[in-house]
Amino acid sequence: MSESVAFAGVDVGSLGSKSVIFEDGKIIGSSILRTGLKSEESGLDALDAALEDAGRRRGDLKYIVGTGYGRISAPYADKTVTEITCHARGAHFLHPKTRTIIDMGGQDCKAIRLDEEGNVTDFAMNDKCAAGTGRFLEVMANVMKVGIEDLGELSLNATEVLPVSSTCTVFAESETISLIARGEKSENIIVGIHHAIANRIHGLFSRVGIENDVFFSGGVAKNVGMRKALEDVMGIRLAQPEGDPQLAGAIGAAILAQEAWSKKKILAVV
């Protein structure tokens, strides 16, 4: 049996820790866990879970790339790369026609433009407040007393979009409470919340522009209501790739791990 040449990407975000094991250009294992208090431990837990999923051991790994906000404490990684570069590479892998990425994570959102090779050409980030992030949706789900995973489905049943003007989490919370007190239908409020975020993200794109295909990555990308709101507000069609959009960053990291290892090997020969 030939020696295993496996690579890992570990993406520790503020809410979720993701890991992907890559071998022969294919994903052979992955994991998504909730990020705990210590980002180093969360990264290692995600890595071990992905290795188990892949039926591999740590010793099989040739190179590990760490990314996400937890990359600053990732001593297990051979190298760290920003989530912006990793998302671009991961989205390109999942959907090669991607030229624009909307990434909505736990505590920030990003607008990323890339070329046909998956290299970043421009980007803009919102990380000053919770608007347009998973955290915002969590707070709102709490106010609406529904599960975060049900938020999207519920919004699809709306009969009208109630305007929620604020994207400041604190103000939007009180705005939502007064809508509930007024007796408005929950679905209509929820769709309003999604539209408020979509408007905010649309503004972020004024800085970098949009080109098809548009890939929606990050944990929030699984929310069908958010997908629909983005499509309606931005007048775009989101790509429907196979594979988990929440893993895009970890996939990109694993691809970069493989590239870095090949580069190292070639430079060692030269």
């Binding site: 906000y69 600053i72 790369v81 920003t82 989530e83 912006i84 570069t85 920030d108 090779e117 290299n119 970043v120 050409t121 421009d122 980007f123 980030m125 990380d127 000053k128 800085r207 590239e259 090949s262 580069k263 070639i266």
Partner: protein
Amino acid sequence: MSLQTIGKINEALARRPAELEKARAEGKKVAGWFNYNVPEEIIHAAGLIPVHLGTGGDNRLVELGARYISAMNCVFTRQIMGQFAEGGDEYIKNSDVVFIDVTCKQLYRVYELVRYYFKARAEILGVPYNFQVGAGKEYFRREVAAFAAKLEKISGSEITGQALRHSVDVYAGIRAAVRELERIQAGPETPITWHEVYDVIQAAYYLDKDTYLSLLGELLSEIKDAPANPKVKTDAPRILISGSVIPPGDRKVLDLVEESGGRVVVDDLWSGFAPYLDTDVEEASLEGIADAYLARHPHGSLPVLDIGQDKRLKNIKKLVRDYRVNGVLFHTLRYCDCFTFKAAETKNVLKTLGVPFLEIHTEYARSDIEAIRTRLEAFIESLGTRLEITSGLIGAGI
């Protein structure tokens, strides 16, 4: 190994406040100044000691300053108000008079407020909106003449033609030396880093001009034979920094660029290389100086309605070419409208040349450090990939 002359410059800086105090005790007057278009050589020729004022990077002073100026004013002006309020800045303390040119209106507000709250002796130097038209030039000539008259009154003696010629020569020597330093540090291998040159440029804020000129001469001859600094990464992406002021005391973004693996090779900051870039006084007269200041690299606060005519943009394009820049970092300070408003057009102009651009919008509080780090690292990663592609590493399948 650090350069000996830089050590000497730092020692001279440490001695400077005491020197100023002594000079004042002996009857000399110190003229502090803020902003961009105060013609320092005239202060020098008037026999006063010029000191460029204003520091950054201290959020405590910003908070203090915000008690006296609107929180919607830029953090730099808020910090200046904080400096006046606290009274701890050695150079402000030792200024007998403070001149502020009205290049940026936010500093005009500082002029009003330091007089009102702190009874500071502050004077204004008007700057025209339009540098191109005859009326603008005329206006600035009159303002410079009035400025010179005020200086004569303060010093109690006339500015002679001979003194003016000497001062113009000293400043021309300083500018030539700084240009040479900027050229040398940008070489592939260099004994002196851009950051060191930036600090040397800011030493000119405070030091005696003749001393400074001779220290620059020493530094140039020292680096002529000095070995290359191994810390300078020759393969790092080459970055131009533009945008809002980065004054002494504020090194937040500069440090982060270095930590992220980027190499700054040039800037057009008005607290850095901008005043040295193309200021050439051809005629040693008040009019000659006024005209030279208007003809040089303009400050971003000026409205330029015709982008095609904007000298600031033309110069940035030239610097990108001359310094083989891979990407432009545009630093904007919170509520510095002058430069924040110019970010989009600068980005668009550079885009036509295929030059990547990143705007970093920040303030002196340190809460956004990690957010800035992520942006900078991502930007430098993308510049690195572009460099690898052009050098053929990636095209070769690696």
